[in-house]
């Protein structure tokens, strides 16, 4: 309670003036708030419960990951990227490793590619499970959170058996993987696939046809396809608006071109569609997992990469389909052992910009639902 919030810079248009000429209420939501998913601060301009405009204030979790990258060698920077989107650490590592591989012009051996795809898809399911639990919790359903976290545990166990870490895995290295799969890895993944599908039905039973869930999510936070593209929104949020854009199909990396899967899309671009798209994506991930485990080849897991990585002078941009959307890395090399500049294009940060478009004219409760449906992780937004 030190000083009043300066709202002059907000500059939100206030068309909905009443004849009583009442003033708008400015509500500060966060950074300590149960449902801003970490330390997001949203300033809401309200007319009663109606949202007239929002302003996101970020940076409470800024750790300067990009700057750290300039002072580490290429290999040393690899574990840092795990700390950005910490619920999908494997995807972050994959994106970074692939970008440096592109810079070095090497390619991971086929076996490494399959291991990478398996782990990344497991990670996608885990990330979506965290999203499902917290999103449902925001809307007031307590129970799915516990179900989702219980089943996510099985994925974390596979990660732990593979590389020893559960959350910030550092599973991949530049040029492939450093760890060979453990004994029974394929069986574990297969077992997980058969274990998980009934559980997914269980989540759906609680939510998909639940009357309150449907009324709370349908026609809430609608994002039109053209708005999505204008705002640069990617991932399930984009696909729920009906745009069939998935980097795994659009510019296949790793062994995704060998995989047979579909891109689930929505029709209306509302919160309910985003929910359905993510649930369908989990099913598709299981499909990919099954194919990948069956087709996993034998062979080396590491490409020929020099001990000291000194990429040629140049710059490269590479992006992958992370669970939350397009995760891109832009690396400038000056020929030394350390990158000259690392720039990350995090999906959460870009998707968060759609918040204002989505909640204008809705109610306060919808802001919470929309923050949940955007599936942001503040570690990635602030970096």
């Amino acid at each position: 309670m030190s000083q009043p919030i300066d709202t002059a810079y907000l500059d939100l248009d206030t068309k909905d003036k009443t004849f009583l000429d009442s003033t708008e209420m400015v509500l500060n939501m966060g950074p300590q708030h149960p449902s801003t998913h970490g330390v997001l601060r949203v300033i809401l301009k309200l007319d009663g419960e109606k949202v007239l405009g929002t302003e996101c204030i970020i940076g409470y979790l800024h750790r300067g990951v990009e700057k750290i990258g300039e002072n580490r060698t290429y290999a040393m920077f690899n574990p840092y990227v795990d700390r950005m989107d910490y619920v999908a650490a494997v995807s972050n590592g994959l994106g970074y490793c692939e970008t440096v591989e592109k810079l070095l012009n090497v390619e991971a051996p086929p076996r490494a590619q399959y291991i990478r795809v398996i782990l990344t898809e497991l990670c996608r399911i885990a990330s979506h499970q965290v999203w499902l639990g917290t999103h449902a919790l925001d809307i007031g359903a307590l129970t799915p959170l516990f179900y989702a976290f219980r089943d996510r545990e099985e994925i974390l166990k596979i990660f732990e058996k593979y590389c020893g870490a559960r959350l910030t895995t550092h599973a991949f290295r530049i040029g492939g993987c450093i760890y060979e799969t453990y004994e029974g890895f394929e069986e574990d993944v297969k077992k997980y696939c058969t274990f998980f599908l009934p559980k997914l039905d269980e989540y759906e039973e609680l939510l998909t046809t639940n009357r309150i869930w449907v009324t709370r999510t349908k026609k809430v936070g609608i994002l039109k396809p053209e708005d999505c593209i204008a705002l640069g929104v990617t991932g399930p949020v984009l696909r729920a608006s009906g745009v069939k854009w998935d980097l795994r199909k659009a510019q296949p990396y790793e062994c995704y071109k060998d995989m047979d899967f579909e891109i689930p899309t929505g029709l209306n671009g509302d919160t309910y569609d985003r929910y359905l798209v993510r649930v369908a994506e989990m099913r598709q991930s299981v499909r990919i997992l099954r194919q990948a485990v069956d087709a996993i080849p034998s062979g080396p897991i590491m490409a020929k990469v020099p001990k000291v990585i000194k990429p040629p002078v140049g710059e490269v941009y590479h992006s992958i389909e992370a669970p939350k959307g397009e995760l891109g890395y832009f690396i400038v090399s000056d020929g030394s052992t350390q990158p000259y500049r690392v720039r990350v294009r995090p999906p959460s940060f870009v998707n968060l910009q759609a918040l204002d478009t989505m909640v204008r004219g809705m109610l306060v409760a919808d802001v919470v639902a929309v923050i949940g449906t955007l599936d942001i992780v503040l570690g990635e937004v602030d970096r």
Binding site: M1, M25, L27, N28, H33, P34, S35, E49, A136, L137, D138, I139, G140, A141, L142, T143, L145, F146, Y147, R150, L206, L207, N210, I212, W213, T215, R216, L363, V364, A365, D366, V367, V368
Partner: protein, 426 residues
Amino acid sequence: MLESIRNYLSSGVTPGEAGSQFWATIYIIAITLGVSLAVISMNWLERKILAHMQIRLGPMRVGPHGLMQPFADALKLLIKEDIIPANADKLVFWSAPVVVTMTAFTTFLVVPFGRTHAVTDMNIGVLFMLGISSLGVLGIIMAGWSSNSHYPLMGSLRSSAQMVSYEVAMGLAIVCAVLMTSLRSGTGTLSMIGIVEAQNAQGTWFIFKFFPLGLIAFVVFAIAMIAETNRAPFDLPEAESELVAGFHTEYSGFRWSLFFLAEYSAMLAVSSIAVTLWLGGWLRPFPNWLSGPAWDLAFSLIPGISFLVMAAGCLLGTIRMPKIVQMRAQAIGLGVFAALLALVGLVLLLPGVRERVQDIFWFVAKVACFMYLYIWYRGTFPRYRFDQLMKVGWKVLLPIGLGVLIATALVGMRQELWASIVGVLR
């Protein structure tokens, strides 16, 4: 003096009717303690049941199976720092929890736990309960406004709008039950005891009366009462994911625990209304069909036996406890709890006691079912949005309530109606 105190025991009416101030005081104290105990056990039960629904264990550390957790929490709340925000309106801030708690407890004055087990039998019992329980919203508004903060203000505004709109549907549903009481006798009653006796006289709980009309009215009431007590899925005033803690965001320590106490006793109060109006109050199952001394005896043994079964369960738990030194205190605690339950069970089996107490048992058992439903809803449903809540209240429950009221009146008066139609035609 002593004579009058003793005379009351054989009178068979409530202390209020008998005019016995001594017994009225005893009853008030007993009900206050009983409700507080019920709130404490609800606290534990809610956490346990919700936890088991969510594949967790719930409290396990403080006492055997966390039995002492509510007491530990209460102690913690009592010794917490007492904070009044600098910008708060101190007097209103101070009095809001008192108002809320007072209203929540006052409603229990007319709750009939048995034919003789109510403080008094008012001839406007239902009206009194409704009136007093709707005063609780005043305390919530006071709390929200005096906190001088945005979240509590929004919470209290939501709460007042919600309570006002759901009380209408609730009132209509209650009028249905009151109409039903007037069927055999010709004159209806608002007295809580009278309503239960009417159900006894008509040989049916009102939930089954004019099937499905009684059931519909009951469902309307059951939905409205959840909204009235601000519980999931209608817990918007304290929606934690939106408004942090709603109207009591700025409260802490003992004042906060008063809100907690009030919320749970309000839940008990509205459940008592529901049980009294639709589920036959203190009446045991099938009092007319399974009548006779043998059945009376059998049913009067059930309270004691159920306590003994619970005691046996606890004893089993004691035996199954891991036999290690660290768990010894817990095992002993659970054993003592089992012994306590067994003792209560045995006392309830005594001939003098069991006739007097079985009414209370059946009433409490029915209320407990409602309490379980409250927890179940909380584990299952997401939360409504404010406008949707209003829509459900005004556009769904209110028309249904009105319709069922008119239908009940028409069905109840069908003979007179028929006679008058025939008369007109002639």
